[in-house]
């Protein structure tokens, strides 16, 4: 093996190992939420999930976020109507797809906003999605807040209907996620 190749490989190893110095910020579940708003011809409604799990991975002492992983369980969404929630679980085939995952390793921090390029794993379909959020950072926490829209039929969902009329194809999500620094 030539010396040049060894040097190149060593450089890559060093670069990768430097990632091993990452620190993690864990999501503060008690103050974080993700909610959706959906619409039917008759009325809109909203469901909230207050059991969000997540983690941020970053290089210590650097203003750079490497990775973000969010995991929620479909059953944790509550729209204050047990019949509707039960129907949603059936429509989302929760017994086959109990989780929704979002993962990103491409996060651009701007002055007070963050562009998160990641993938949603929802209802057995994986799709790319860019989310733009506001962020606030202090000594104790890193908070991101924003919204995004998912098109249900993109995720092979059959739209539930009521009075023979299907609900709208879009779910508008809002989120506020607080990560504890430690």
């Amino acid at each position: 093996m030539s010396n040049k190749l060894k040097i190149a490989c060593s450089f890559i190893l060093f670069f990768n190992l430097s990632f091993a110095q990452n620190i993690n910020w864990k999501l503060r579940e008690s103050e974080s939420f993700i909610s959706y708003q959906a619409k039917h011809l008759l009325h809109p409604w909203k469901g909230v999930n207050k059991n969000v799990r997540g983690i941020v991975s970053k290089v210590d002492n650097e203003k750079k976020i490497n990775e973000l992983a969010i995991l929620i369980l479909v059953k944790d969404f509550d729209s204050n109507n047990t019949g509707r929630d039960a129907h949603a679980l059936e429509a989302l085939e929760v017994l086959s797809y109990p989780e929704v995952r979002f993962y990103s390793n491409s996060i651009e921090l701007n002055v007070d906003s963050v562009n998160i390029h990641g993938t949603f794993d929802f209802h057995g379909v994986t799709k790319n999605q860019t989310i733009i959020a506001e962020y606030v950072e202090d000594i104790e926490k890193w908070k991101i807040k924003g919204n995004f829209t998912l098109k249900l039929t993109d995720y092979n969902m059959e739209l539930p209907s009521f009075m023979m009329i299907k609900m709208e194809d879009f779910l508008n999500f809002e989120f506020e996620l607080i990560f504890d620094k430690y």
Binding site: L13, R53, A69, L71, T82, H87, E93, Y103, F162
Partner: protein, 201 residues
């Protein structure tokens, strides 16, 4: 190839492989208290428990043992039964409106409508109990939450108790007491129409 080179390459590949597992390991770090999705709700009405409960008829007879695969099938059956419940509910409401019109004509002395009133009454009663049966005996949902305040589903269920009793009273009193039959039928129509209208998506 020199032994030291081989060792270097193996180390290099191993570390690259480890880095490739980053995404999964990050999710593994999320302390997910994975509570498996319960297959049955915490509470269900007695008719559903009789058929679909943990020790229900379907389980004991081994027709549909309680498994994830069977629950998936049951939820499809449930959806079809509830859609039929909705459609039959609207048909029943139309029948009740027709009965209201015919009943008023009878009270006003137009007795030639009596046979039609009886026939439509019987059809409406049959469709009412068919619709009720579809709801009462449908496989249970996955969850049953106790929501705060008055919700459409709560109103729908409370009103069901009223119109179910009123439907029985309307039929029992049809020959014996005209005055009470009329009062029962008004109660039936009012509570039933409200139950249909109050139900939200």
């Amino acid at each position: 190839m020199k032994r030291s080179n081989l060792l270097f390459i193996i180390c290099f590949l191993l570390i690259q492989l480890m880095m490739g597992q980053q995404k999964e390991s990050l999710f593994n770090q999320i302390e997910l208290e994975v509570t498996n999705q319960e297959l049955l709700p915490s509470s269900m009405i007695f008719t559903q428990r009789f058929l679909w409960g943990e020790r229900g008829l379907m389980r004991k007879s081994n027709i549909l043992p309680l498994t994830i695969e069977n629950r998936k099938k049951e939820l499809q059956i449930r959806r079809k039964m509830l859609i039929a419940h909705q459609v039959i509910g609207y048909v029943t409401l139309v029948g009740m409106i027709a009965e209201g019109i015919l009943g008023t004509k009878l009270y006003n002395g137009q007795h030639n409508y009596k046979d039609t009133h009886v026939v439509i009454g019987n059809i409406t009663t049959a469709s009412y109990f068919t619709g009720a049966g579809l709801s009462l005996f449908a496989p249970p949902p996955l969850i049953s939450r106790k929501n705060k305040g008055l919700t459409s589903i709560k109103a729908h269920k409370w009103l069901a108790t009223v119109h179910f009793s009123a439907m029985i009273a309307t039929n029992v009193l049809s020959e014996s007491n005209k005055k009470h039959h009329r009062a029962a039928s008004y109660t039936l129509f009012g509570s039933y129409a409200l139950a249909v209208l109050s139900f939200k998506f």
